[in-house]
Symmetry: C2
Subunit: 336 residues, 2 copies
């Protein structure tokens, strides 16, 4: 067996790779839309936007819009610009999040706020957000505009609610699910819902919206588990960011359910009051292991990915349907 074949064996194709393969020609068009529409006569805008957008990212949201359109057999070019609009909304929230979280790293590189400054990150985020709406207006569907403006308002509300739950040990699992439904899953849901709308299959919009919502919740729970996992560094991300910021995510919430007094005092000091020493992250990971908190969080994520799969039950078998189903499962499994 050649070395190349061996490498392929050790890095098996993910459902996201399969989806990208099926939608390759469409994604080329989406990337053209993204590049063309982040241009501006003010050079700093394409520089900063390009820094983040060219640094990769999985393009999962535009892929969802494409898949949820093409699954109905239409060959309309409309999803290209609208998938770019979805990616711009996502990129704008990343830029603003990194300012809000004082992030150091994003996609394995220095975060844009460190390279270009907070000011430019806020304003280029505003530009991309506006540009997303310009793309939607050019498309002309008020339904799409409604779905994505509703999602944008919900995302912002979720982010603000996350600010108010951070460092608060009284945060409930319900609060947490509400925050991630808003800050993450709302855009997944919208990215999926506009697919059937573009394809003229409005009666499927609710099912696709549900799929995206549950997928997004599963995705974010798994991401929050990854934040405590050494695997995360392989993805070009820092381990322990949520811990250092005192975010109340699923692993901590499960660990708190059966915490003894000493553990509760530990979480109160480190997460509640953000007084942390160098060894605290390792100790946090020990406590999470003691309570199988990551395992419980992944089981919760799996319950949402099951719901995502179930939401697609009325759809006929097709390669894209298989991809969407596999993607829901993979979104949890990737964190092992």
């Amino acid at each position: 067996m050649s070395t190349q074949a061996l490498q392929q064996d050790t890095a098996p194709q993910t459902p996201l790779d399969t989806l990208s393969g099926l939608l390759k020609d469409d994604m080329l068009q989406v990337n053209t839309q993204i590049i063309d529409n982040m241009q501006s006569e003010v050079p700093l805008i394409p520089q900063l936007a390009g820094y983040l957008i060219a640094s990769g990212g999985k393009r999962i949201r535009p892929l969802l819009t494409l898949a949820c359109t093409r699954i109905y057999g239409t060959d309309s070019p409309r999803p290209h610009a609208l998938a770019a609009a979805v990616e711009f909304i996502h990129t704008a929230t990343l830029l603003h999040d990194d300012v809000v979280d004082e992030s150091k790293q994003r996609r394995g590189k220095d975060a844009a706020n460190l390279v270009f400054g907070n000011q430019a990150s806020v304003l280029v985020g505003d530009f991309l957000f506006s540009r997303a709406f310009q793309l939607m207006v050019a498309d002309g569907s008020l339904d799409v505009l409604r779905i994505l403006s509703d999602a944008s308002a919900i995302i912002a509300q979720g982010e603000v609610k996350q600010l108010t739950t951070a460092n608060n040990l009284a945060t409930t699992m319900e609060d947490y699910i509400e925050v991630i439904s808003a800050k993450t899953a709302a855009l997944f849901a919208a990215a999926c819902e506009i697919g059937p709308i573009i394809a003229g299959q409005d009666d499927q919009a609710a099912a696709m919206r549900d799929y995206g919502m549950y997928l997004g919740i599963a995705f974010q729970i798994a991401d929050d588990v990854l934040d405590y996992s050494a695997n995360r560094e392989k993805l070009g991300k820092t381990v322990g960011d949520d811990f250092r910021e005192g975010k109340m995510t699923a692993p901590i919430l499960f660990a708190l359910e059966n915490a003894n007094d000493e553990e509760r005092a530990f979480w109160q000091r480190t997460v509640g009051e953000r007084r942390q020493t160098e060894t605290d992250l390792a100790q946090a990971q020990d406590i999470l292991n003691r309570h199988d908190a990551n395992g419980k969080a992944l089981a919760l994520a799996r319950s949402y990915s099951d719901k995502a799969v179930a939401a697609l039950s009325s759809h006929r078998e097709s390669p894209l349907l298989s991809c969407l189903t596999d993607l829901a499962r993979f979104t949890v499994d990737r964190s092992y």
Copy 2:
């Protein structure tokens, strides 16, 4: 003569007061829309938005939308929600600007970023921006959506360009006019342009757009003069903010035109490199006076307010038309 009458004499009615009086019932509806639509189940959102919105502000942009609709005689309720959308876009940009500029004061109170933090200011700005688009979608006019999404993209570009011209003594008057046309005048123009669109007088949209654009440019130049004027403190604003931030505004640009070597070195140190001592603002004001820089800037502002008045020449005489004309003149005179 009673004390009250005397006070009225000493504080004469401005064109903005007259406009508010003529549009009093409409403005009550706009304020209701503003209050209702800044509500959220996340309490921090109405708290922060309310802090800024309730602290006054002149509501000049929603008044423009109302005036530019009612001038055509229509009694449609549509401008209420759309004027609120315009004010939300403005409020969102204020919140983001204050984070970007590290502002200390806004409308005579501590700036929202100081009271609620940068994080909440960025995210509540995003919320209000999204809510503005939700209001436009509910109204259903793609023309209005196009005008305001275009304006939003232009505003963000202007703000980014301003970042790149700040502290740069090579900035030209052309650069400056381009920045203020985008960051300030684009929203004035859009606020005015949607009036005839709402009223079904699409053929008047270009004239109203021009009026708003020229008014906005005149307004911003006068505002930049005010930043060096002691009168500014009466308006609840800090004197010298632009100077401290090294913004290249009209007064400095006029002073630089005929600057001697010593003056140029002064501007290079204080504005170019932002190395300032306590007495520098007073010296900057002296140099501006020496070159009549504020007077020249106000003359430039007046040339734009003349263009604003001229843009209305095809409109019939009416109390609202007189108000719009007077407002264009007042926007420059207020800085004396």
